[in-house]
């Protein structure tokens, strides 16, 4: 698929859980995650986010995150990757689910973004 989804959370179980949830409605959308730190602690890590970008088979990525410092690490990762990544300041679970469900049925990206607009919380 052209578009993929990346989930960034401070906690690996949250990232895994969101992935599990959205795969139910979007089995063909590539979803990769960066959750927690390497040693399992709570936090976000730029290297792990870059890895999630690379591991995603899509070249254009929609990135969703939980709290502020995840956004800062995401922005740095975006500055360092060759992929086209856009991050959304939206409610993590709802917006990742919405985006994936719409991408699964090949909705145009402009229409996906229009739906996401209502979910902006940050």
């Amino acid at each position: 698929m052209e578009y993929g989804v990346v989930i960034v959370s401070h906690v690996s179980e949250i990232a895994q859980g969101v992935k599990r949830l959205i795969e139910q409605v979007a089995k063909d959308v590539p979803v990769t995650i960066a959750g927690g730190l390497e040693n399992g602690d709570v936090g976000t890590d730029m290297q792990r986010i870059i890895q999630a970008f690379e591991d995603n088979s899509a070249t254009k990525l929609l990135a969703f995150y939980d709290l502020g410092s995840a956004k800062m690490n995401l922005e740095m990762a975006i500055e360092m990757t060759d992929k086209e990544v856009k991050l959304y300041d939206t409610a993590l679970v709802e917006s990742a689910y919405t985006a994936a469900a719409l991408l699964q049925v090949e909705t145009k990206i402009e229409d996906v973004e229009a739906q996401l607009k209502d979910l902006k919380v940050k």
């Binding site: 730190l37 602690d41 709570v42 936090g43 976000t44 890590d45 730029m46 290297q47 709290l67 502020g68 410092s69 800062m72 690490n73 922005e75 740095m76």
Partner: protein, 187 residues
């Protein structure tokens, strides 16, 4: 004008402060954040010291870049990208001229955190100091202390809003240690 040895000394002094006060920094972070600032900074500075001690650097930008990467990859919380960006921007200055380094660091922190002054963050310490041509330890202490009465509107502390009043911002405190460590090097 700082040289590579000055920067090493700066980081050594800063590291001493971080390791000595890491419980206090986490304590400051507990009522208004997630209680990990001290541990995060201690972990990050251990990585920095490991990366720079006994190593040769061609120039000041080279050592700043190494410091930045260690902080970005090892701190874990918001301070990693913020301090990391500060050192990355200082690397871009091209030399060790303090009057240019501090404004560059401040601009980097503001850009990365999208923060302005008065939001109870480390910007409230960096901004008044970076604007001065000369600063004293007392200036730093006052700037740190001033965050106590502010209401947090940025970062994790903003979730507790008005309840953040009465607590020193932990990022402001650690920034205070960094800037005072610089004074010790310059003396």
């Amino acid at each position: 004008m700082l040289d590579v040895e000055n920067v090493k000394k700066w980081m050594t002094k800063f590291n001493e402060q971080i390791q000595a006060h890491h419980d206090y920094l986490s304590e400051l972070d507990t009522p208004i954040g997630d209680g990990d600032h001290g541990n995060n900074m201690a972990r990050g500075m251990n990585a920095v010291m490991e990366a720079i001690a006994d190593k040769d650097f061609t120039d000041v930008p080279a050592i700043f870049k190494t410091i930045a990467m260690s902080l970005i990859s090892k701190v874990g919380g918001a301070s990693g990208p913020l301090y990391g960006t500060a050192f990355m921007e200082m690397a871009k200055v091209g030399d060790g001229e303090v009057s240019a380094l501090l404004p560059a660091a401040l601009a980097g922190i503001k850009k990365r955190g999208k923060a302005e002054t008065g939001e109870k963050t480390m910007v409230d310490v960096w901004a008044p100091i970076a604007e001065k041509t000369d600063f004293t330890a007392d200036d730093v202490d006052k700037a740190v202390e001033a965050t106590k009465d502010m209401i947090a509107t940025k970062g994790r502390a903003s979730y507790v809003g008005e309840r953040s009043v009465g607590h020193i911002d932990p990022g402001a405190m650690s920034s205070g240690y960094l800037l005072k460590a610089l004074l010790e090097v310059e003396e």
